[in-house]
Every structure is written in structure tokens, then in C-alpha cells.
């Protein structure tokens, strides 16, 4: 979506680690620890690539792969401020009625789009609604 709508869409990441997944919350904390070193999105992408094999060792392996300062990373994954930040997202999710992932909101309203095509259509509709200028895309290359 960001490639299709580079000027019109902003993507905001929110955590909703599901309880049935043993390493989900720790993964969220590790991603925020990576964020403190400016590598959130890179860490995010590698977490999803390794979604089936997550472990505390894997978190460290990914951090090393990204060249993070391991001493700082180790300190940050035990930082209660990061845990509190994840908990804030979880409380927000509960408040907004989120029950599964991914749950997508477009300008604050939950979207039922389950495919990229449906999401693109929803974004176009929202752009028309907001009337913030012409819809400029990359011509469908993305």
C-alpha cells in the first residue's frame, strides 16, 4: 500500500500479541528493543520471516544479523518501559474490540478488507471521502 500510495498513506504498527503464541509478546518487546537502535522495521520483517521458529535465541540471532549493539539489546529486552508500551497497545486493542490479527483500521474505522485488492479499494474510497487531493499512485507497479 505504501508503494501504491506513497504520498497518501501512512502505516502505523500496533502490537496485539496473542496469548496462545508463547513468544509473541517477547517478540514484540525484542522489536521495540531493536527500535531503540533504529532497526524496528528490519527486525519486524525478520520476525515475520522466522515466525515458525521464534525463540529467545532467535531474537538474539536476528539482532546480531542486523548488527545491533548486543549489550544494549540485552538490556532493552528486559526494560519494563518497553513491556509497559506493549501493554498499552494491548489495552488499546481491547478497547477497540480487536480479537484477532491482523486487524486493520483505516482512519480509525475497522476494515473488513482481507486481500490487498480489497484494502486498495478501501484506501481509494477513503481518499475520495477525505477529498485531500487527487489519488496519485505508482501506476500499479507496486
Amino acid at each position: 500500500m505504501l508503494e501504491k500510495f506513497p504520498l497518501q498513506v501512512k502505516l502505523v504498527f500496533k502490537n496485539y500479541p496473542l496469548r496462545q503464541h508463547a513468544f509473541a509478546k517477547k517478540a514484540a518487546v525484542a522489536a521495540f528493543a531493536a527500535r531503540r537502535q533504529g532497526k524496528f522495521w528490519e527486525y519486524h520483517d525478520l520476525l515475520f520471516e522466522n515466525g515458525d521458529s521464534l525463540s529467545e535465541q532467535k531474537f538474539r540471532d536476528i539482532a546480531r544479523e542486523l548488527g545491533l549493539d548486543m549489550e544494549r539489546f540485552e538490556k532493552d529486552i528486559n526494560d519494563l518501559k518497553i513491556v509497559a508500551r506493549i501493554n498499552q497497545d494491548i489495552r488499546l486493542a481491547a478497547y477497540m474490540g480487536v480479537r484477532s490479527t491482523p486487524t486493520v483500521f483505516i482512519n480509525g474505522h475497522v476494515s473488513k478488507a482481507r486481500t490487498l485488492e480489497a484494502l486498495e479499494a478501501a484506501v481509494r474510497k477513503e481518499l475520495q471521502r477525505t477529498r485531500k487531493g487527487p489519488v496519485v499512485t505508482d501506476g500499479g507497479k507496486g
Binding site: V9, A24, A84, F105
Partner: protein
């Protein structure tokens, strides 16, 4: 008012003040437990995002890494 009455009234006042103090303390502790911890770190104050800050469409995604 004799001396025993005075002592009784002072005792009541003392118990009342002590009770109010205990109730306030318990209430403050309860509020402290209910209030979510505030996040002070600047880098934690906003969610990770991609795209222009003034984009007319904001897509928020609740995700789980596993």
C-alpha cells in the same frame, strides 16, 4: 463537661482522623494500581510508522509476530 467526656470526645476525633487517613491511603493505593504506567521514553511515545506524517489515510494494523 467533665474530664471523662472530654477524653471520650478526643478519642472519637482521633479515631475518626486515623480512619480517614487510612481510607485515603487505601484509595490512593488502589488508584495507583489501576492507573497504567506512563511511558516516558520519547522513542516509545509514538507507534512505529511508515509513510508521510500528514498522509490523509492512516492504516493502523494490530499485529502478532507469531
Amino acid at each position: 463537661m467533665n474530664r471523662s467526656h472530654t477524653i471520650t470526645i478526643l478519642s472519637f476525633i482521633f479515631v475518626f482522623v486515623l480512619g480517614s487517613f487510612a481510607a485515603n491511603l487505601a484509595s490512593a493505593q488502589w488508584k495507583a494500581q489501576k492507573t497504567p504506567p506512563s511511558v516516558q521514553d520519547k522513542d516509545l511515545s509514538v507507534s512505529p510508522s511508515r509513510g508521510p506524517a500528514d498522509a490523509p489515510v492512516v492504516i493502523g494494523v494490530f499485529s502478532c509476530f507469531q
